[in-house]
């Protein structure tokens, strides 16, 4: 500090000699450095790895379940909008089984959730939940690979064996349903607001049409975004190679740089398309069905959409696995699943629910009947085999591939 600067500061009467001394004296500085060095020794030990725990044998499963019994309580973490507002499904479960349930809408985003539960699971501590619902994406694979999930005892899942649709069993992301069974499935397609879009939307190419400049919404999730880039190029995402990813990236990048994309949405696209900020956007089927106005339509584009599943699973540190697995199975009984499906409007893994809803519709009052009819016949809730044929699944990424994949597609939504 030069002399006249110092003088100027003093003149203002604003200097703090104590602070300045702390900043500038050698002793103060050395003291700070010493303290920092001590803490550094503490902090220098690294963060241990936890990989390679994804392989499970029957013996492991038996060992996990050996000697466990129910305690009459479940802590359940789920996504918002995945349970009736009055929680009637849970109440019915408690009434029937005597098991109480603490239900929290604790999961808003898969990656975020993973980041939050990773530390306690790594330390083999409870995350406060016995049951959670996670999408079959990158984070699910990581949870499996890290050995954070409890293997399921299928002897305790008779309803699942009996009522689950073929599409809910033995998928590539979890062969033999060792760790998970679906809660609901959903379709990623295109939603558009018919107040503004005056032509039928049938193709992914329309998301790339310059006439919708500044009116297109895309998802920021790298798997969702990457899938649509690949589908636009006619590539099946499930079988894609790294070169395909890069080609898809170029297409998506030019879509962005032409100003067609208004925004990459983590979550807010429903709000935007309902208000008319965007006119057409990538969307999840159930959201459109329940959350937006009648002006907003949902289509599965002719190039195909993707189907994903939000799956029920238990962290290995669950305190009440016996109760939790009972609830998982209970939800697969059609009469228990039907009210839930009527509320959340996603694809149910229990096809027999369709008959129940049809019956409900036949008996319903005039007010509820149209809704139930619409639901019972909706291809978004009960896709027909032809529609299923149009749907693609996510690519299962190995641990080595994940960062490379993320790097390719994350840059798009980050504007690079």
């Amino acid at each position: 500090m030069t002399a006249d600067r110092q003088a100027a500061a003093n003149r203002r009467g604003a200097s703090d000699p104590a602070l300045r001394r702390g900043l500038t004296t050698r002793r103060g500085f050395l003291g700070a450095v010493g303290a920092a060095a001590g803490a550094a020794a503490l902090a220098g030990c690294g963060i241990p790895g936890r990989g390679g725990n994804g392989i499970v044998t029957q013996a492991d499963i038996d060992e996990y379940w050996h000697g466990r019994s129910g305690k009459g309580h479940i802590n359940w973490a789920n996504w918002p909008g995945y349970m009736e507002d009055d929680r009637s499904t849970i109440k019915a479960f408690t009434k029937e089984t005597g098991i109480s349930v603490t239900y929290k809408e604790a999961i808003q985003e898969a990656a975020d959730w993973f980041g939050k539960i990773q530390a306690p699971l790594a330390a083999n501590q409870s995350i406060g939940f016995d049951l959670m619902v996670v999408t079959n994406g990158i984070q699910f694979t990581e949870l499996v690979e890290l050995g954070y999930l409890a293997p399921l005892d299928h002897h305790r899942l008779p309803n699942f064996a009996r009522y689950a649709s073929a599409k809910a069993k033995n998928r590539a992301y979890d062969r033999n349903n060792i760790f998970s069974i679906p809660y609901v499935s959903g379709i990623t397609g295109i939603a558009y607001n018919s107040k503004y879009v005056k032509e039928p939307i049938t193709s992914i190419q329309q998301l790339f049409d310059p006439k919708y400049k500044g009116r297109v919404g895309m998802m920021s999730d790298s798997q969702e975004l990457g899938n649509f880039g690949m589908l636009a190029l006619g590539i099946d995402p499930e079988k894609s190679t790294e070169d395909d990813w890069k080609r898809a990236r170029e297409v998506l990048r030019s879509q962005r740089d032409k100003g067609i994309v208004r925004k990459y949405y983590e979550q807010g696209y429903i709000d935007a398309v309902t208000k008319g900020d965007v006119w057409l956007t990538m969307a999840w089927s159930g959201d459109v069905y329940t959350l937006s106005s009648p002006d907003v339509k949902f289509v599965v584009p002719k190039e195909g959409g993707t189907i994903w599943s939000d799956c029920m699973m238990m962290p290995k540190t669950a305190a009440n696995p016996v109760d939790a697995i009972r609830l998982m199975d209970w939800l697969y009984a059609p009469q228990n699943n039907a009210p839930l499906t009527e509320y959340i409007n996603y694809v149910t893994p229990v096809p027999a629910v369709q008959d129940i809803i049809r019956k409900d519709a036949a008996e319903a009052s005039a007010k509820d009947k149209p809704d139930l009819d619409r639901l019972a016949t909706s291809p978004l809730v009960f896709p027909s085999p032809e529609e299923y044929a149009k749907l693609r699944t996510y690519r299962s990424l190995s641990n080595a591939e994940v960062p490379r994949y993320q790097k390719v597609f994350q840059t798009i939504s980050q504007g690079a």
């Binding site: 702390g22 809408e105 790594a122 983590e266 979550q267």
Partner: protein
């Protein structure tokens, strides 16, 4: 943030002519100020208004008529209520802890000369000017390195951490302005250090302590960034609101926002009134 307003500036009467001119060109500035106030109010007004919106869809942005429904059903959303409760209880706890710890730091800094004072000031200053995201991410780095699970308690720890310096600085400002002779007089009259503190020092610095406490409460209940990094699976009101944009923010959120706003305004007005009286 609470307002401890200074005394009105002592203004000697200016010559009449100049004063008239001053008033005239005060008009433009006056308009400007009111425009800014209006701009600041607009979003607040919208927030309050849409708490009364008789909406029937899950999206709450189109005016569909007036209702008090959301006030009656304020606590219908169990998770939202729990989030609000988390926020309120964390704010209360952290305010109590922060006020106690921060007040002592403030008194020590305002009253004593001692070795290490410079470093303490430095840390306080750094904490006040440190970006929130850096505090949040560094705490997360530590928790991750030590394999500590995050949750309610880590949020509380973080909130106390970032509010201490504000309380300390507020109290220090008050202590510096005190006349040490009053305490000396108490000691001369035979009061021990504890009695002096309880009967003399504390009452004198009380306004500073109170406004520090209010500040700590406001900082805590409103915090988003640091909470986001340290919360684990615990959800607070701001986190819930932010996440709710996915499925549509329910009108109850507006109502709660309105109520928090009302309480904050009320507290500030009361404390300003009391501050003026003492």
């Amino acid at each position: 943030m609470t307002t401890t307003l200074g005394k009105p500036a002592a203004s000697a009467p200016a010559p009449a002519k100049r004063r008239r001119r001053a008033r005239r060109d005060g008009l433009g500035l006056r308009l400007y100020t009111w425009l800014i106030i209006a701009w600041l109010m607009l979003p607040i007004a919208i927030m309050i208004l849409f708490g009364f919106n008789d909406t029937h869809s899950k999206q709450n942005f189109q005016w569909e008529g007036f209702t008090l429904r959301w006030y009656q059903h304020l606590f219908d959303k169990g998770d939202l209520t729990r989030a609000l409760w988390n926020s309120v209880s964390i704010a209360l706890l952290s305010t109590v802890i922060t006020t106690v710890l921060g007040t002592f730091v403030g008194i020590a800094l305002g009253r004593f000369r001692f070795r290490g004072k410079g470093v303490t000031n430095l840390v306080l200053f750094a904490a006040i000017s440190c970006p929130e995201i850096v505090m949040g991410s560094s705490l997360l780095s530590m928790f991750v390195s030590l394999d500590l699970p995050r949750g309610y308690w880590t949020v509380l720890i973080a909130h106390v951490m970032f509010s201490i310096s504000f309380v300390a600085v507020t109290v220090r400002a008050r202590v510096v302005g005190l006349d040490p002779k009053v305490e000396e007089a108490a000691k001369d009259l035979g009061a021990g250090p504890v009695e002096t503190f309880r009967l003399v020092t504390l009452p004198m610095i009380m306004p500073g302590v109170l406004s520090g406490a209010l500040l700590a409460f406001a900082l805590s209940i409103d915090d988003f960034v640091i909470t986001n990094f340290t919360s684990g699976s615990t959800v607070t009101f701001p986190l819930w609101v932010y996440a709710s944009t996915r499925t549509g923010t329910p009108p109850q959120v507006n109502v709660m926002g309105t109520l928090i706003f009302a309480v904050g305004v009320l507290l500030a007005v009361v404390s300003a009134r009391r501050g003026r009286r003492t």
